[in-house]
Protein backbone atom coordinates (compact mmCIF):
# COMPACT_ATOMS: atom_id res chain seq x y z
CA UNK A 1 0.00 0.00 0.00
CA UNK A 2 1.58 3.27 -0.97
CA UNK A 3 1.43 6.22 1.28
CA UNK A 4 -1.22 8.18 -0.53
CA UNK A 5 -3.47 5.18 -0.67
CA UNK A 6 -3.13 4.69 3.06
CA UNK A 7 -4.20 8.22 3.78
CA UNK A 8 -7.29 7.80 1.72
CA UNK A 9 -8.37 4.79 3.74
CA UNK A 10 -7.57 6.26 7.08
CA UNK A 11 -9.30 9.51 6.38
CA UNK A 12 -12.57 7.64 6.09
CA UNK A 13 -11.93 5.24 8.95
CA UNK A 14 -10.87 7.08 12.06
CA UNK A 15 -9.07 5.09 14.74
CA UNK A 16 -11.23 6.15 17.66
CA UNK A 17 -14.16 4.60 15.91
CA UNK A 18 -14.53 1.58 18.19
CA UNK A 19 -14.52 3.67 21.34
CA UNK A 20 -17.11 5.98 19.86
CA UNK A 21 -19.31 3.09 18.79
CA UNK A 22 -18.99 1.47 22.21
CA UNK A 23 -19.84 4.74 23.94
CA UNK A 24 -23.03 5.02 21.90
CA UNK A 25 -23.82 1.32 22.23
CA UNK A 26 -23.67 1.51 26.04
CA UNK A 27 -26.55 3.95 26.02
CA UNK A 28 -28.93 1.31 24.67
CA UNK A 29 -29.70 -0.50 27.92
CA UNK A 30 -31.67 -3.40 26.42
CA UNK A 31 -28.92 -4.07 23.91
CA UNK A 32 -26.37 -4.11 26.69
CA UNK A 33 -28.39 -6.55 28.80
CA UNK A 34 -28.98 -8.73 25.77
CA UNK A 35 -25.28 -8.81 24.91
CA UNK A 36 -24.63 -10.24 28.35
CA UNK A 37 -27.37 -12.81 27.88
CA UNK A 38 -25.75 -13.90 24.64
CA UNK A 39 -22.28 -14.03 26.19
CA UNK A 40 -23.68 -16.17 28.99
CA UNK A 41 -25.33 -18.47 26.46
CA UNK A 42 -22.05 -18.81 24.60
CA UNK A 43 -20.19 -19.73 27.76
CA UNK A 44 -22.81 -22.39 28.45
CA UNK A 45 -22.44 -23.71 24.94
CA UNK A 46 -18.67 -23.88 25.07
CA UNK A 47 -18.62 -25.49 28.47
CA UNK A 48 -21.51 -27.82 27.67
CA UNK A 49 -19.52 -31.09 27.48
CA UNK A 50 -18.12 -30.52 30.98
CA UNK A 51 -21.09 -29.13 32.82
CA UNK A 52 -24.01 -31.14 31.51
CA UNK A 53 -24.78 -34.86 31.46
CA UNK A 54 -24.81 -36.64 28.12
CA UNK A 55 -27.82 -35.21 26.24
CA UNK A 56 -28.48 -38.52 24.51
CA UNK A 57 -28.35 -40.70 27.64
CA UNK A 58 -31.75 -42.38 27.79
CA UNK A 59 -33.33 -43.55 31.00
CA UNK A 60 -36.64 -45.15 30.13
CA UNK A 61 -37.49 -45.80 33.76
CA UNK A 62 -37.38 -42.06 34.34
CA UNK A 63 -39.51 -40.54 31.57
CA UNK A 64 -41.27 -37.20 31.92
CA UNK A 65 -39.84 -36.68 35.37
CA UNK A 66 -40.61 -33.16 36.64
CA UNK A 67 -37.85 -30.62 37.33
CA UNK A 68 -35.66 -31.76 40.25
CA UNK A 69 -32.20 -31.18 41.64
CA UNK A 70 -30.77 -33.94 39.50
CA UNK A 71 -32.58 -32.83 36.34
CA UNK A 72 -33.10 -29.10 36.62
CA UNK A 73 -35.64 -28.99 33.85
CA UNK A 74 -36.82 -32.57 34.19
CA UNK A 75 -36.53 -35.30 31.59
CA UNK A 76 -38.17 -35.81 28.22
CA UNK A 77 -40.15 -38.63 26.68
CA UNK A 78 -37.09 -40.88 26.60
CA UNK A 79 -35.84 -39.91 30.05
CA UNK A 80 -33.03 -37.71 28.74
CA UNK A 81 -31.93 -34.71 30.77
CA UNK A 82 -33.83 -31.78 29.26
CA UNK A 83 -31.47 -28.98 30.23
CA UNK A 84 -28.52 -30.85 28.74
CA UNK A 85 -30.47 -31.24 25.52
CA UNK A 86 -31.39 -27.59 25.51
CA UNK A 87 -27.79 -26.49 25.89
CA UNK A 88 -26.55 -28.91 23.28
CA UNK A 89 -29.46 -27.81 21.11
CA UNK A 90 -28.13 -24.27 21.39
CA UNK A 91 -24.82 -25.41 19.94
CA UNK A 92 -26.54 -26.94 16.94
CA UNK A 93 -29.04 -24.16 16.34
CA UNK A 94 -26.61 -21.29 16.79
CA UNK A 95 -23.86 -22.88 14.74
CA UNK A 96 -26.25 -23.42 11.87
CA UNK A 97 -27.52 -19.86 12.16
CA UNK A 98 -23.98 -18.47 12.17
CA UNK A 99 -22.87 -20.56 9.25
CA UNK A 100 -25.95 -19.60 7.28
CA UNK A 101 -25.44 -15.90 7.95
CA UNK A 102 -21.76 -16.14 7.07
CA UNK A 103 -22.52 -17.75 3.74
CA UNK A 104 -25.33 -15.26 3.10
CA UNK A 105 -22.96 -12.40 3.93
CA UNK A 106 -20.29 -13.59 1.55
CA UNK A 107 -22.72 -14.16 -1.26
CA UNK A 108 -24.69 -10.99 -0.58
CA UNK A 109 -21.54 -8.89 -0.48
CA UNK A 110 -20.33 -10.47 -3.69
CA UNK A 111 -23.58 -9.84 -5.56
CA UNK A 112 -24.06 -6.39 -4.04
CA UNK A 113 -20.50 -5.31 -4.82
CA UNK A 114 -20.68 -6.44 -8.41
CA UNK A 115 -24.06 -4.81 -8.94
CA UNK A 116 -23.10 -1.58 -7.18
CA UNK A 117 -19.64 -1.30 -8.65
CA UNK A 118 -20.40 -2.09 -12.27
CA UNK A 119 -23.95 -0.73 -12.43
CA UNK A 120 -25.74 -0.71 -15.76
CA UNK A 121 -26.96 -3.95 -17.23
CA UNK A 122 -25.24 -6.18 -14.67
CA UNK A 123 -26.80 -4.21 -11.86
CA UNK A 124 -30.22 -4.39 -13.46
CA UNK A 125 -30.00 -8.10 -14.00
CA UNK A 126 -28.78 -8.89 -10.49
CA UNK A 127 -31.36 -6.69 -8.83
CA UNK A 128 -34.15 -8.32 -10.84
CA UNK A 129 -32.83 -11.61 -9.53
CA UNK A 130 -32.92 -10.26 -5.99
CA UNK A 131 -36.51 -9.11 -6.51
CA UNK A 132 -37.50 -12.54 -7.73
CA UNK A 133 -35.81 -14.23 -4.80
CA UNK A 134 -37.71 -11.95 -2.44
CA UNK A 135 -41.03 -12.92 -4.00
CA UNK A 136 -40.55 -16.67 -3.56
CA UNK A 137 -42.32 -18.39 -0.67
CA UNK A 138 -39.35 -19.19 1.53
CA UNK A 139 -40.48 -21.88 3.93
CA UNK A 140 -42.19 -24.20 1.41
CA UNK A 141 -39.11 -24.05 -0.79
CA UNK A 142 -36.80 -24.75 2.14
CA UNK A 143 -38.89 -27.74 3.09
CA UNK A 144 -38.88 -29.07 -0.45
CA UNK A 145 -35.13 -28.58 -0.76
CA UNK A 146 -34.60 -30.37 2.53
CA UNK A 147 -36.67 -33.31 1.33
CA UNK A 148 -35.08 -33.43 -2.12
CA UNK A 149 -31.44 -32.89 -1.25
CA UNK A 150 -31.47 -34.06 2.32
CA UNK A 151 -30.95 -32.18 5.55
CA UNK A 152 -27.67 -32.11 7.36
CA UNK A 153 -25.76 -29.44 9.14
CA UNK A 154 -24.20 -27.98 6.00
CA UNK A 155 -27.16 -28.25 3.64
CA UNK A 156 -29.48 -26.61 6.14
CA UNK A 157 -27.07 -23.71 6.50
CA UNK A 158 -26.78 -23.44 2.74
CA UNK A 159 -30.53 -23.53 2.22
CA UNK A 160 -31.14 -20.83 4.78
CA UNK A 161 -28.35 -18.74 3.29
CA UNK A 162 -29.86 -19.17 -0.17
CA UNK A 163 -32.93 -17.27 0.99
CA UNK A 164 -31.32 -14.62 3.13
CA UNK A 165 -28.49 -13.03 1.15
CA UNK A 166 -30.74 -10.54 -0.63
CA UNK A 167 -30.92 -7.91 2.10
CA UNK A 168 -27.14 -7.75 2.34
CA UNK A 169 -26.80 -7.57 -1.43
CA UNK A 170 -29.22 -4.66 -1.59
CA UNK A 171 -27.49 -2.82 1.25
CA UNK A 172 -24.01 -3.24 -0.20
CA UNK A 173 -25.19 -2.19 -3.61
CA UNK A 174 -26.89 0.93 -2.26
CA UNK A 175 -23.78 1.84 -0.27
CA UNK A 176 -21.57 1.37 -3.29
CA UNK A 177 -23.78 3.48 -5.49
CA UNK A 178 -23.65 6.24 -2.90
CA UNK A 179 -19.96 5.95 -2.20
CA UNK A 180 -18.92 5.79 -5.82
CA UNK A 181 -19.81 9.44 -6.15
CA UNK A 182 -17.61 10.40 -3.18
CA UNK A 183 -14.37 12.19 -3.82
CA UNK A 184 -12.01 9.72 -2.23
CA UNK A 185 -13.28 6.94 -4.46
CA UNK A 186 -13.00 9.14 -7.50
CA UNK A 187 -9.50 9.93 -6.39
CA UNK A 188 -8.66 6.23 -6.07
CA UNK A 189 -10.03 5.59 -9.52
CA UNK A 190 -8.07 8.53 -10.89
CA UNK A 191 -4.93 7.15 -9.29
CA UNK A 192 -5.45 4.05 -11.35
CA UNK A 193 -6.32 1.58 -8.61
CA UNK A 194 -7.76 -1.67 -9.91
CA UNK A 195 -11.43 -2.53 -9.55
CA UNK A 196 -10.86 -5.16 -6.91
CA UNK A 197 -8.53 -2.92 -5.00
CA UNK A 198 -11.14 -0.18 -4.94
CA UNK A 199 -13.81 -2.61 -3.86
CA UNK A 200 -11.79 -4.21 -1.06
CA UNK A 201 -9.79 -1.26 0.17
CA UNK A 202 -12.27 1.54 -0.15
CA UNK A 203 -15.82 0.57 -0.82
CA UNK A 204 -16.28 -2.47 1.41
CA UNK A 205 -14.82 -1.03 4.63
CA UNK A 206 -17.06 1.96 4.20
CA UNK A 207 -20.20 -0.08 3.74
CA UNK A 208 -19.51 -2.21 6.80
CA UNK A 209 -21.87 -0.46 9.19
CA UNK A 210 -25.19 -1.43 7.60
CA UNK A 211 -23.88 -4.92 6.85
CA UNK A 212 -22.98 -5.51 10.49
CA UNK A 213 -26.47 -4.52 11.57
CA UNK A 214 -28.09 -6.65 8.87
CA UNK A 215 -25.94 -9.65 9.82
CA UNK A 216 -26.90 -9.42 13.49
CA UNK A 217 -30.58 -9.26 12.65
CA UNK A 218 -29.98 -12.01 10.10
CA UNK A 219 -28.79 -14.37 12.83
CA UNK A 220 -32.08 -13.85 14.63
CA UNK A 221 -34.02 -14.70 11.48
CA UNK A 222 -31.82 -17.73 10.75
CA UNK A 223 -32.42 -19.14 14.23
CA UNK A 224 -36.16 -18.78 13.72
CA UNK A 225 -36.19 -20.41 10.32
CA UNK A 226 -33.93 -23.28 11.39
CA UNK A 227 -36.10 -23.97 14.39
CA UNK A 228 -39.20 -23.99 12.19
CA UNK A 229 -37.58 -26.44 9.77
CA UNK A 230 -36.49 -28.73 12.55
CA UNK A 231 -39.82 -28.42 14.31
CA UNK A 232 -41.60 -29.66 11.19
CA UNK A 233 -39.17 -32.57 11.10
CA UNK A 234 -37.23 -31.60 7.98
CA UNK A 235 -34.25 -29.93 9.59
CA UNK A 236 -31.84 -31.29 12.18
CA UNK A 237 -32.72 -34.94 12.69
CA UNK A 238 -33.07 -36.56 16.10
CA UNK A 239 -31.41 -37.79 18.22
CA UNK A 240 -29.21 -34.71 17.65
CA UNK A 241 -31.04 -32.07 19.67
CA UNK A 242 -31.94 -28.72 18.18
CA UNK A 243 -34.32 -26.19 19.65
CA UNK A 244 -36.79 -26.82 16.89
CA UNK A 245 -36.86 -30.60 16.86
CA UNK A 246 -37.23 -30.75 20.63
CA UNK A 247 -40.73 -29.42 20.00
CA UNK A 248 -41.62 -31.75 17.15
CA UNK A 249 -43.53 -34.08 19.44
CA UNK A 250 -44.79 -31.29 21.66
CA UNK A 251 -48.38 -32.10 20.86
CA UNK A 252 -47.93 -35.45 22.57
CA UNK A 253 -46.65 -34.05 25.82
CA UNK A 254 -48.58 -30.79 25.93
CA UNK A 255 -50.89 -32.53 28.39
CA UNK A 256 -48.39 -34.52 30.41
CA UNK A 257 -45.44 -32.20 30.70
CA UNK A 258 -46.19 -28.73 29.35
CA UNK A 259 -42.85 -27.37 30.60
CA UNK A 260 -41.16 -29.51 27.96
CA UNK A 261 -42.98 -27.43 25.40
CA UNK A 262 -42.39 -24.16 27.19
CA UNK A 263 -38.62 -24.16 27.68
CA UNK A 264 -37.26 -24.72 24.17
CA UNK A 265 -39.51 -21.96 22.87
CA UNK A 266 -38.44 -19.63 25.66
CA UNK A 267 -34.82 -20.31 24.77
CA UNK A 268 -35.43 -19.55 21.11
CA UNK A 269 -37.46 -16.44 21.87
CA UNK A 270 -34.91 -15.12 24.36
CA UNK A 271 -31.98 -15.72 22.03
CA UNK A 272 -33.73 -14.26 19.00
CA UNK A 273 -34.88 -11.32 21.09
CA UNK A 274 -31.34 -10.76 22.27
CA UNK A 275 -29.96 -10.75 18.75
CA UNK A 276 -32.71 -8.37 17.68
CA UNK A 277 -31.95 -5.98 20.51
CA UNK A 278 -28.21 -6.20 19.91
CA UNK A 279 -28.87 -5.46 16.25
CA UNK A 280 -31.00 -2.50 17.26
CA UNK A 281 -28.30 -1.27 19.62
CA UNK A 282 -25.69 -1.59 16.90
CA UNK A 283 -27.91 0.32 14.54
CA UNK A 284 -28.13 3.16 17.04
CA UNK A 285 -24.43 2.97 17.81
CA UNK A 286 -23.41 2.92 14.17
CA UNK A 287 -25.95 5.59 13.30
CA UNK A 288 -23.35 8.16 12.23
CA UNK A 289 -22.08 5.66 9.69
CA UNK A 290 -25.48 4.66 8.39
CA UNK A 291 -27.28 6.50 5.68
CA UNK A 292 -30.94 6.48 4.87
Amino acid sequence: MNKRDKNLTISTFPTGIFLEVWRRYKRHKMALVCSFILIFLYLLMILAPWITPNPNQQDLSNRYSPPSLKHWLGTDELGRDFLARLIHGARVSLTIAFTAVLIALLFGILVGSIAGYYGGFIDNFLMRFVDIMLTLPELPLLLILAVLIGANFLTISLFIAAFSWMTVARLVRAEFLGLKKKEFIEAAIALGASSWRIIFRHLLPNSLAPVIVAATLGIADAILIESALSFLGFGVQPPTPSWGNMLTNAHDFLWRAPYLAIFPGLFIALTVLSFNYVGDGLRDALDPFLKE
Binding site: L136, P140, V147, A228, L232, G244, L247, P258, I268, N276
Partner: protein, 318 residues
Protein backbone atom coordinates in the same frame (compact mmCIF):
# COMPACT_ATOMS: atom_id res chain seq x y z
CA UNK B 1 -51.33 3.46 -13.91
CA UNK B 2 -52.07 1.21 -16.88
CA UNK B 3 -48.46 1.43 -17.92
CA UNK B 4 -47.23 0.69 -14.43
CA UNK B 5 -49.47 -2.33 -14.03
CA UNK B 6 -48.56 -3.62 -17.46
CA UNK B 7 -44.92 -3.42 -16.51
CA UNK B 8 -45.55 -5.24 -13.24
CA UNK B 9 -47.51 -7.92 -15.07
CA UNK B 10 -44.69 -8.33 -17.57
CA UNK B 11 -42.24 -8.65 -14.70
CA UNK B 12 -44.12 -11.61 -13.30
CA UNK B 13 -43.61 -13.59 -16.51
CA UNK B 14 -39.94 -14.43 -15.93
CA UNK B 15 -40.84 -15.21 -12.35
CA UNK B 16 -43.55 -17.61 -13.44
CA UNK B 17 -41.17 -19.21 -15.90
CA UNK B 18 -38.52 -19.71 -13.25
CA UNK B 19 -41.04 -21.30 -10.94
CA UNK B 20 -42.33 -23.54 -13.72
CA UNK B 21 -38.78 -24.67 -14.49
CA UNK B 22 -38.15 -25.28 -10.79
CA UNK B 23 -41.26 -27.43 -10.60
CA UNK B 24 -40.33 -29.33 -13.70
CA UNK B 25 -36.83 -30.00 -12.41
CA UNK B 26 -38.34 -31.08 -9.14
CA UNK B 27 -40.23 -33.93 -10.71
CA UNK B 28 -37.24 -34.97 -12.79
CA UNK B 29 -34.96 -34.92 -9.80
CA UNK B 30 -37.09 -37.28 -7.79
CA UNK B 31 -35.90 -40.84 -7.36
CA UNK B 32 -37.28 -42.65 -10.37
CA UNK B 33 -38.20 -39.46 -12.17
CA UNK B 34 -41.66 -38.85 -13.62
CA UNK B 35 -41.98 -42.54 -14.16
CA UNK B 36 -42.12 -43.29 -10.49
CA UNK B 37 -45.88 -42.66 -10.55
CA UNK B 38 -46.08 -46.04 -12.24
CA UNK B 39 -43.22 -47.81 -10.59
CA UNK B 40 -43.85 -46.57 -7.07
CA UNK B 41 -44.23 -49.65 -4.88
CA UNK B 42 -44.84 -52.00 -7.82
CA UNK B 43 -42.88 -54.28 -10.04
CA UNK B 44 -43.23 -53.62 -13.75
CA UNK B 45 -41.55 -55.40 -16.60
CA UNK B 46 -38.85 -53.41 -18.41
CA UNK B 47 -40.83 -53.83 -21.64
CA UNK B 48 -43.81 -52.12 -20.06
CA UNK B 49 -41.61 -49.34 -18.74
CA UNK B 50 -40.43 -48.62 -22.26
CA UNK B 51 -44.02 -48.57 -23.44
CA UNK B 52 -45.06 -46.13 -20.72
CA UNK B 53 -42.04 -43.98 -21.41
CA UNK B 54 -42.96 -43.83 -25.05
CA UNK B 55 -46.54 -42.91 -24.42
CA UNK B 56 -45.55 -40.24 -21.92
CA UNK B 57 -42.96 -38.82 -24.27
CA UNK B 58 -40.14 -39.46 -21.83
CA UNK B 59 -37.87 -40.50 -24.69
CA UNK B 60 -38.23 -37.09 -26.26
CA UNK B 61 -35.75 -34.27 -25.54
CA UNK B 62 -36.06 -32.54 -22.19
CA UNK B 63 -37.22 -29.17 -23.56
CA UNK B 64 -40.00 -30.95 -25.45
CA UNK B 65 -41.07 -32.61 -22.23
CA UNK B 66 -41.00 -29.28 -20.45
CA UNK B 67 -43.25 -27.57 -22.94
CA UNK B 68 -45.57 -30.55 -23.06
CA UNK B 69 -45.82 -30.49 -19.29
CA UNK B 70 -46.34 -26.73 -19.30
CA UNK B 71 -49.10 -27.09 -21.86
CA UNK B 72 -50.83 -29.66 -19.75
CA UNK B 73 -50.62 -27.39 -16.71
CA UNK B 74 -51.65 -24.18 -18.39
CA UNK B 75 -54.40 -25.40 -20.70
CA UNK B 76 -55.79 -28.41 -18.90
CA UNK B 77 -54.91 -27.65 -15.29
CA UNK B 78 -53.33 -31.09 -15.31
CA UNK B 79 -50.90 -31.40 -12.43
CA UNK B 80 -50.65 -35.16 -12.46
CA UNK B 81 -51.72 -37.64 -9.82
CA UNK B 82 -50.80 -38.11 -6.20
CA UNK B 83 -48.59 -41.11 -5.49
CA UNK B 84 -50.44 -41.78 -2.32
CA UNK B 85 -54.14 -41.33 -2.95
CA UNK B 86 -54.15 -41.54 -6.76
CA UNK B 87 -56.41 -38.52 -6.91
CA UNK B 88 -55.68 -35.69 -9.33
CA UNK B 89 -53.35 -33.19 -7.68
CA UNK B 90 -55.43 -30.29 -8.94
CA UNK B 91 -58.48 -31.68 -7.16
CA UNK B 92 -56.59 -32.13 -3.89
CA UNK B 93 -55.32 -28.57 -4.08
CA UNK B 94 -58.65 -27.03 -5.04
CA UNK B 95 -60.24 -28.63 -2.04
CA UNK B 96 -57.70 -27.10 0.35
CA UNK B 97 -57.04 -23.75 -1.28
CA UNK B 98 -60.09 -21.92 0.11
CA UNK B 99 -59.08 -22.80 3.67
CA UNK B 100 -55.60 -21.38 3.16
CA UNK B 101 -56.98 -18.26 1.57
CA UNK B 102 -59.39 -17.79 4.46
CA UNK B 103 -56.61 -18.22 7.00
CA UNK B 104 -54.21 -15.92 5.18
CA UNK B 105 -56.77 -13.20 4.68
CA UNK B 106 -58.06 -13.25 8.22
CA UNK B 107 -54.47 -13.07 9.45
CA UNK B 108 -53.82 -10.20 7.04
CA UNK B 109 -56.97 -8.49 8.22
CA UNK B 110 -56.04 -8.92 11.89
CA UNK B 111 -52.49 -7.74 11.26
CA UNK B 112 -53.66 -4.54 9.63
CA UNK B 113 -56.46 -4.05 12.13
CA UNK B 114 -54.01 -4.10 15.03
CA UNK B 115 -50.71 -3.02 13.53
CA UNK B 116 -51.86 0.21 11.93
CA UNK B 117 -53.66 1.74 14.92
CA UNK B 118 -50.86 0.67 17.26
CA UNK B 119 -48.27 2.19 14.95
CA UNK B 120 -50.26 5.39 14.50
CA UNK B 121 -50.82 5.81 18.20
CA UNK B 122 -47.18 5.07 18.99
CA UNK B 123 -46.09 7.72 16.52
CA UNK B 124 -48.51 10.33 17.83
CA UNK B 125 -47.55 9.63 21.44
CA UNK B 126 -43.87 9.19 20.77
CA UNK B 127 -41.86 8.11 23.85
CA UNK B 128 -45.02 7.69 25.94
CA UNK B 129 -45.70 4.65 28.07
CA UNK B 130 -47.89 3.28 25.31
CA UNK B 131 -45.12 3.70 22.77
CA UNK B 132 -42.64 2.03 25.06
CA UNK B 133 -44.93 -0.94 25.71
CA UNK B 134 -45.74 -1.25 22.01
CA UNK B 135 -42.04 -1.20 21.12
CA UNK B 136 -41.21 -3.90 23.62
CA UNK B 137 -44.19 -5.96 22.55
CA UNK B 138 -43.14 -5.70 18.95
CA UNK B 139 -39.58 -6.81 19.71
CA UNK B 140 -40.94 -9.80 21.59
CA UNK B 141 -43.61 -10.58 19.02
CA UNK B 142 -41.01 -10.48 16.32
CA UNK B 143 -38.76 -12.91 18.19
CA UNK B 144 -41.25 -15.60 19.17
CA UNK B 145 -41.20 -18.63 16.89
CA UNK B 146 -44.64 -18.92 15.40
CA UNK B 147 -44.93 -22.69 15.99
CA UNK B 148 -44.17 -22.26 19.66
CA UNK B 149 -46.66 -19.45 19.93
CA UNK B 150 -49.20 -21.82 18.42
CA UNK B 151 -48.36 -24.50 20.97
CA UNK B 152 -48.60 -22.03 23.81
CA UNK B 153 -51.93 -20.74 22.53
CA UNK B 154 -53.21 -24.29 22.47
CA UNK B 155 -51.83 -24.93 25.92
CA UNK B 156 -53.52 -21.89 27.39
CA UNK B 157 -56.76 -21.56 25.46
CA UNK B 158 -57.53 -25.20 24.71
CA UNK B 159 -55.78 -27.36 27.28
CA UNK B 160 -55.96 -25.17 30.36
CA UNK B 161 -58.95 -22.90 29.76
CA UNK B 162 -60.88 -25.05 27.32
CA UNK B 163 -62.15 -21.91 25.59
CA UNK B 164 -61.27 -22.57 21.99
CA UNK B 165 -60.74 -25.69 19.91
CA UNK B 166 -57.12 -26.67 19.41
CA UNK B 167 -57.43 -27.64 15.78
CA UNK B 168 -59.58 -28.23 12.73
CA UNK B 169 -61.89 -25.87 10.82
CA UNK B 170 -65.27 -26.72 12.28
CA UNK B 171 -67.05 -29.01 14.71
CA UNK B 172 -67.53 -32.29 12.87
CA UNK B 173 -71.13 -33.19 12.14
CA UNK B 174 -72.43 -29.68 12.64
CA UNK B 175 -74.07 -27.94 9.65
CA UNK B 176 -72.38 -24.76 8.42
CA UNK B 177 -72.38 -22.17 11.17
CA UNK B 178 -70.44 -18.95 10.93
CA UNK B 179 -69.89 -18.60 14.66
CA UNK B 180 -68.53 -22.12 14.86
CA UNK B 181 -66.17 -21.45 11.96
CA UNK B 182 -64.95 -18.26 13.56
CA UNK B 183 -64.28 -20.09 16.83
CA UNK B 184 -61.94 -22.40 14.97
CA UNK B 185 -60.36 -19.55 13.06
CA UNK B 186 -59.48 -17.39 16.05
CA UNK B 187 -56.37 -19.14 17.35
CA UNK B 188 -54.62 -19.94 14.07
CA UNK B 189 -55.23 -16.52 12.56
CA UNK B 190 -54.12 -14.64 15.66
CA UNK B 191 -51.00 -16.80 15.94
CA UNK B 192 -50.23 -16.21 12.28
CA UNK B 193 -50.91 -12.48 12.61
CA UNK B 194 -48.77 -11.77 15.65
CA UNK B 195 -45.42 -11.47 13.87
CA UNK B 196 -46.94 -9.12 11.36
CA UNK B 197 -48.68 -7.03 13.98
CA UNK B 198 -45.30 -6.71 15.62
CA UNK B 199 -43.35 -5.68 12.56
CA UNK B 200 -45.97 -3.68 10.67
CA UNK B 201 -46.78 -1.55 13.69
CA UNK B 202 -43.10 -0.55 13.71
CA UNK B 203 -43.15 0.30 10.03
CA UNK B 204 -46.32 2.30 10.48
CA UNK B 205 -44.82 4.21 13.38
CA UNK B 206 -41.60 4.99 11.54
CA UNK B 207 -43.39 5.98 8.37
CA UNK B 208 -45.87 8.21 10.17
CA UNK B 209 -43.13 9.90 12.18
CA UNK B 210 -41.31 10.59 8.95
CA UNK B 211 -44.35 12.07 7.25
CA UNK B 212 -45.31 14.16 10.29
CA UNK B 213 -42.04 16.02 9.79
CA UNK B 214 -42.84 16.81 6.18
CA UNK B 215 -43.30 20.39 5.16
CA UNK B 216 -46.80 19.93 3.79
CA UNK B 217 -47.95 19.30 7.36
CA UNK B 218 -46.91 22.87 8.17
CA UNK B 219 -48.83 24.05 5.10
CA UNK B 220 -51.89 22.15 6.30
CA UNK B 221 -51.60 23.79 9.71
CA UNK B 222 -51.18 27.17 8.10
CA UNK B 223 -54.43 26.54 6.25
CA UNK B 224 -56.20 26.29 9.60
CA UNK B 225 -56.91 22.55 9.54
CA UNK B 226 -57.24 20.75 12.86
CA UNK B 227 -54.63 18.22 13.89
CA UNK B 228 -57.09 15.36 13.45
CA UNK B 229 -57.97 16.47 9.92
CA UNK B 230 -54.30 16.85 9.09
CA UNK B 231 -53.54 13.37 10.37
CA UNK B 232 -56.35 11.61 8.58
CA UNK B 233 -56.44 13.59 5.40
CA UNK B 234 -52.88 14.65 4.74
CA UNK B 235 -50.43 12.52 6.65
CA UNK B 236 -51.89 9.05 6.84
CA UNK B 237 -52.31 8.68 3.14
CA UNK B 238 -48.67 9.48 2.50
CA UNK B 239 -47.53 7.36 5.42
CA UNK B 240 -49.40 4.38 4.04
CA UNK B 241 -47.48 4.32 0.77
CA UNK B 242 -44.25 2.75 2.08
CA UNK B 243 -46.16 0.56 4.52
CA UNK B 244 -48.27 -0.92 1.75
CA UNK B 245 -45.09 -1.70 -0.16
CA UNK B 246 -43.73 -3.61 2.79
CA UNK B 247 -47.00 -5.42 3.38
CA UNK B 248 -46.92 -6.49 -0.26
CA UNK B 249 -43.32 -7.65 0.02
CA UNK B 250 -44.12 -9.67 3.12
CA UNK B 251 -47.08 -11.56 1.69
CA UNK B 252 -44.84 -14.56 0.91
CA UNK B 253 -43.97 -14.57 4.60
CA UNK B 254 -47.64 -14.90 5.51
CA UNK B 255 -47.80 -17.92 3.29
CA UNK B 256 -44.71 -19.42 4.92
CA UNK B 257 -46.28 -18.78 8.29
CA UNK B 258 -49.51 -20.40 7.13
CA UNK B 259 -47.64 -23.63 6.42
CA UNK B 260 -46.57 -23.80 10.06
CA UNK B 261 -49.86 -22.61 11.51
CA UNK B 262 -51.89 -25.04 9.47
CA UNK B 263 -49.67 -27.90 10.55
CA UNK B 264 -50.02 -27.09 14.23
CA UNK B 265 -53.73 -26.38 14.18
CA UNK B 266 -54.66 -29.25 11.87
CA UNK B 267 -56.05 -26.67 9.48
CA UNK B 268 -56.82 -28.49 6.24
CA UNK B 269 -55.18 -26.04 3.87
CA UNK B 270 -52.38 -26.10 1.35
CA UNK B 271 -49.70 -25.80 4.00
CA UNK B 272 -50.82 -28.88 5.84
CA UNK B 273 -51.26 -30.67 2.55
CA UNK B 274 -47.67 -29.79 1.70
CA UNK B 275 -46.48 -30.99 5.07
CA UNK B 276 -48.08 -34.39 4.56
CA UNK B 277 -46.96 -34.61 0.97
CA UNK B 278 -43.40 -33.96 2.12
CA UNK B 279 -43.63 -36.62 4.81
CA UNK B 280 -44.78 -39.16 2.23
CA UNK B 281 -42.48 -37.92 -0.54
CA UNK B 282 -45.55 -37.41 -2.72
CA UNK B 283 -43.65 -35.53 -5.45
CA UNK B 284 -46.45 -34.71 -7.90
CA UNK B 285 -48.43 -33.21 -5.05
CA UNK B 286 -45.39 -31.27 -3.79
CA UNK B 287 -44.83 -29.94 -7.28
CA UNK B 288 -48.45 -28.92 -7.67
CA UNK B 289 -48.50 -27.15 -4.34
CA UNK B 290 -45.28 -25.30 -5.10
CA UNK B 291 -46.76 -24.11 -8.37
CA UNK B 292 -50.07 -23.04 -6.88
CA UNK B 293 -48.59 -21.41 -3.81
CA UNK B 294 -46.19 -19.42 -5.99
CA UNK B 295 -49.18 -18.32 -8.01
CA UNK B 296 -51.01 -17.29 -4.85
CA UNK B 297 -48.03 -15.29 -3.69
CA UNK B 298 -47.49 -13.63 -7.06
CA UNK B 299 -51.15 -12.80 -7.29
CA UNK B 300 -51.21 -11.25 -3.84
CA UNK B 301 -48.10 -9.28 -4.72
CA UNK B 302 -49.90 -7.97 -7.74
CA UNK B 303 -52.83 -6.97 -5.57
CA UNK B 304 -50.44 -5.11 -3.30
CA UNK B 305 -48.99 -3.36 -6.34
CA UNK B 306 -52.43 -2.23 -7.40
CA UNK B 307 -53.16 -0.94 -3.91
CA UNK B 308 -49.80 0.82 -3.94
CA UNK B 309 -50.48 2.42 -7.30
CA UNK B 310 -53.91 3.42 -6.14
CA UNK B 311 -52.70 5.43 -3.15
CA UNK B 312 -49.62 6.83 -4.85
CA UNK B 313 -50.57 9.43 -7.47
CA UNK B 314 -47.01 9.54 -8.72
CA UNK B 315 -47.58 6.09 -10.12
CA UNK B 316 -51.23 6.45 -10.95
CA UNK B 317 -50.40 9.25 -13.33
CA UNK B 318 -47.32 7.89 -15.05
Amino acid sequence: MGFYLKRRLLQTIPLLLIIAILCFILIHQTPGGPLSVYTFGRKIAPRDIERIKDSLGLNKPLYWQFFYWLRQVVFYGDLGYSYVTWQPVSKLIWERLPNTVILMFSALFLSILFAFPIGIFSALKKYSLFDYVATTFSFIGYSIPIFWLGLMAQLVFSVKLGLLPSGGVRTPGLPFNLLDRIKYLVLPSFVLALTFIASWSRYMRASLLGKLRENYVITARAKGLSEVAILFKHVLRNALIPVVTIVGLQLPLIFSGAVITETIFAWPGIGRLLFHALLRRDYPLIQGILLISSLVVILSNLLADIAYAYINPRIRYE
